[in-house]
Symmetry: C2
Subunit: 138 residues, 2 copies
C-alpha cells in the first residue's frame, strides 16, 4: 500500500513537485480500499481545496498511474476507478451499484495463458473480475 511518504519520495525522485493538492490526493489514496473514481477523489479534495480543478485530479492520477503507483481499474463500464494497492490482487464488482471489493487470493498457480497463445502474447499479468450483486443491492 502506497503511503504519502512513498508517493512524495517517488515524485521527488522524478523531478516532480509536491503541491498541497497532490499531497491531499496522496492522503486520500493512502490506505484507501474504496476504489474511488476520479470524481470521488475530486469531491473529497474539493472539501479542503474548494478551488481545485478536475484537471488537477486527472493529471495527478495519470501521473501516479504512469509511475506505477496506482492501478487503473477497467471494470466499471461507466468510469475508471483507482486503486493505490499495486500488489497483485483481484476484484468483485456489484453489477447494480458498482461497488468494488478486493479479492486477495493468489490464483497464479492455476491461471496461466494456454501454451497455444504463449507464442502470440508476452503476458505481464492478469486481472480477475468477479461479477455479482452485493448484499446491499438485493
Amino acid at each position: 500500500m502506497e503511503t504519502v511518504e512513498k508517493l512524495t519520495k517517488t515524485l521527488r525522485n522524478h523531478g516532480m513537485k509536491i503541491t498541497p493538492q497532490r499531497l491531499m490526493i496522496f492522503k486520500i489514496l493512502e490506505n484507501n480500499t474504496s476504489h474511488p473514481s476520479a470524481e470521488q477523489v475530486f469531491k473529497r479534495v474539493k472539501k479542503i481545496y474548494p478551488t481545485v480543478s478536475f484537471t488537477t485530479i486527472y493529471k495527478t492520477l495519470e501521473t501516479l498511474r504512469d509511475l506505477g503507483e496506482v492501478q487503473e481499474l477497467i471494470i466499471d463500464e461507466d468510469r475508471k476507478h483507482y486503486d493505490p494497492n499495486t500488489d497483485t490482487h483481484h476484484h468483485v464488482i456489484c453489477s447494480n451499484c458498482k461497488k468494488i471489493l478486493d479479492v486477495f487470493e493468489d490464483f497464479s498457480q492455476h491461471v496461466k495463458l494456454p501454451d497455444t497463445l504463449k507464442k502470440d502474447y508476452t503476458v505481464s499479468g492478469f486481472q480477475i473480475s468477479f461479477h455479482g450483486i452485493c448484499k446491499d443491492c438485493n
Copy 2:
C-alpha cells in the same frame, strides 16, 4: 456462437423487427472472433448501407446485449468491445494495439470467490483479462 438464424429467431420471439440493417449486423457478428468495437461494426455496415446511423449500431448492440446474445467486454480502457460468443471464456489483450484474443480454458475449478466474501456478494461469474504485448507490437 450465435448465428444469423438464431439472432433472427430471438428478436422475432421478442416482438422485434428484422430490418436489413440488423441482418447486416447479425452477419458481421456471426463467427466473428475479432471482438469489434461499435465503430468497427459501424464501418462494416456502412460499406453496404452508406446511410446507416451510428445510433442504429449502438441500439442493436444494446438490444443484443440485453437479450444475452452478445457479451460486452470491458477490457479496453478506451471503448467497449462486443463478443458474439456468449459461452464462458476469457481474453488476452495487447496493451499497445488493444487486439483481443479468446482464451478458451475452464478455470472455474480453481477460481472462486473467497468464502469471506461469499456473504457479501452473490457472484454470477468471473472474467479473466490477461494483459501483455502481442507479437506484432514488440
